[in-house]
C-alpha cells in the first residue's frame, strides 16, 4: 500500500487524525510506526511482550496528542521517538525525566511550508547520512539512543549534519516568539 509509494506524507496523516479522528489514516501510521517503535523498545532492552504493549501505548498517545504535533519543528518519526523514549523511561523505571516548559502557544496554526517540508525530510536525510558513517560510529550512536551507554560514554560529536536542523528549529522558534509578542501587544 502506501508503504511502497515514493514517500508517504506522514504529517498529513497526523493532521487527518487530529482534524477528523480519521481511523484509516491512523491505521497507516500504525502499520509504519508500531513495528519501528517495537523494534526500538526491544533494542532498548524490553522483552517482546512489554515492547508490544508499549508500542500500542505509544501509538495510542499519538492519537491522543495529535494536536500537539508541530510539523515545522519535527518529523513524525522524531515526534514518535520522543513519545517512545518517554514510554521506555517509564516502563524500564529509568530516572524520571522532567520535560522543558512547553511553548504554551502550541504549534503555529499555519506553519511555514518550507520548514515543515524540511523537517519531514530530516529523518530520511539523517538516515542516509548515518548509513555513510563508519560502522563503529553508527553503532555508537544507535547504542546511545537504545539507552545502552552511560552518559559519560555518550559522544555528541556524531559527524552528522545536525547543525542545519538546529538552525531551522531556531528560526521556527524565533518566528513563534515574534508572533506571540505581536499577539500580546494587540491584546
Amino acid at each position: 500500500m502506501a508503504e511502497n509509494t515514493e514517500q508517504t506524507d506522514w504529517a498529513a496523516l497526523v493532521f487527518r487524525v487530529r482534524d477528523h479522528q480519521d481511523k484509516a489514516a491512523f491505521a497507516m501510521l500504525f502499520k509504519h510506526f508500531a513495528p519501528r517503535v517495537k523494534g526500538f523498545l526491544m533494542k532498548s532492552g524490553a522483552g517482546e511482550t512489554l515492547a508490544e504493549e508499549c508500542a500500542q501505548d505509544v501509538m495510542a498517545t499519538l492519537w491522543q496528542k495529535a494536536g500537539q504535533f508541530d510539523p515545522a519543528r519535527a518529523s513524525v518519526a522524531t515526534w514518535v521517538f520522543t513519545i517512545a523514549r518517554n514510554r521506555r523511561i517509564d516502563a524500564l523505571r529509568k530516572a524520571r525525566r522532567p520535560e522543558p516548559e512547553e511553548l504554551t502557544w502550541g504549534p503555529e496554526p499555519e506553519p511555514d511550508q518550507g520548514d515543515a517540508l524540511d523537517a519531514q525530510n530530516d529523518t530520511e536525510r539523517l538516515g542516509a547520512a548515518m548509513a555513510r558513517l563508519p560502522e563503529k560510529q553508527r553503532e555508537l550512536i544507535e547504542r546511545a539512543y537504545y539507552g545502552d551507554l552511560s552518559h559519560s560514554e555518550i559522544a555528541a560529536e556524531t559527524g552528522l549534519p545536525l547543525g542545519t536542523i538546529k538552525s531551522r528549529i531556531r528560526l521556527a522558534l524565533e518566528r513563534l516568539r515574534h508572533q506571540m509578542d505581536v499577539k500580546a501587544s494587540q491584546g
Binding site: 481511523k23 491512523f26 500504525f30 508500531a34 513495528p35 519501528r36 517495537k38 523494534g39 526500538f40 533494542k43 517482546e48 508490544e52 508500542a55 500500542q56 495510542a60 492519537w63 491522543q64 496528542k65 495529535a66 494536536g67 519535527a74 518529523s75 518519526a77 521517538f81 520522543t82 518517554n86 521506555r88 523511561i89 529509568k94 530516572a95 524520571r96 525525566r97 522532567p98 522543558p100 516548559e101 512547553e102 504554551t104 502557544w105 502550541g106 523537517a119 530520511e124 538516515g127 548515518m130 539512543y145 551507554l149 552511560s150 552518559h151 555518550i154 559522544a155 555528541a156 552528522l160 545536525l162 547543525g163 536542523i165 538546529k166 528549529i169 531556531r170 522558534l173 524565533e174 516568539r177
Partner: protein, 216 residues
Amino acid sequence: MSIQHHLNNDLLMAYAVGELPEALNLVIATHVSLCDECRARLESYDALGGAVVEHGYAAVADGSLDACLARISGLGQEQPRKAMSRQTKSVFPAPLMDYVGGGLETVKWRPIGMGAKQVILRTADTDASVRLLYIPGGAAMPDHGHNGLELTLVLQGAFRDEGQRFARGDIEVADASVEHTPVAEEGSVCICLAATQGKLKFNSLLPRLAQPFLRI
C-alpha cells in the same frame, strides 16, 4: 538579556536519549525552558532519535492494530493548546515549579550560614542531588569541591566566577577538576538551581560534620 552560557552537546544528547540522573534532568529541562538555542540543539538530537527509530523493525503481534483501534475509540483527544501568555515571567519555569510545588514565594529555605540559604529538591537519585540556593549579594556560594559533574543555573540575580558573569538563564557546567568559587553580584540576591553528581566534599571541617544533617 540574551543567554551567554549554554549546555554542552554531550549533556543535551544524554538528556535527549534519557540517560541522565533525575537531578541533572531537572536542571537541563529548566535551562532549556529559558533558552531557545539549547532547545533547538536538543530538538536536533531528537531528530537523530527519529532516524534511529525509523531504522529499526520488529513485527507486531497479530491483531495488534485492531487492539489499538479498539483502545483509541474509547479515548478522547487532547485539545491543541491555544495561544496564551507565557508563564516564564515567573522566576521558576514549569518543570522547576513542579518540583517546588509552587513559585519562589513558596520555597521553605533553610539557612546554611553566612546569610546563604538552600532547599534540597527531592529526587529518586542515589548519586546525584539538586537544590535551590539563595545567595546574598556579594557572598560566595558555599565552598565545596565535588567528585563529579556540577551544573549551576541562574534564575534570579547574577554571579561571577573565573572572570565571567552568569545571569538569568545562564548555566555553568563544571567538573571535578575545577576549583572555583562563584560569588553573587553585589546589590541583589542570586537564586540558582544547582545539581551535582557524586557526593559533595566540603573543604572545611564544620560543614563536613553538618553534611548528613543538611542532606547536601
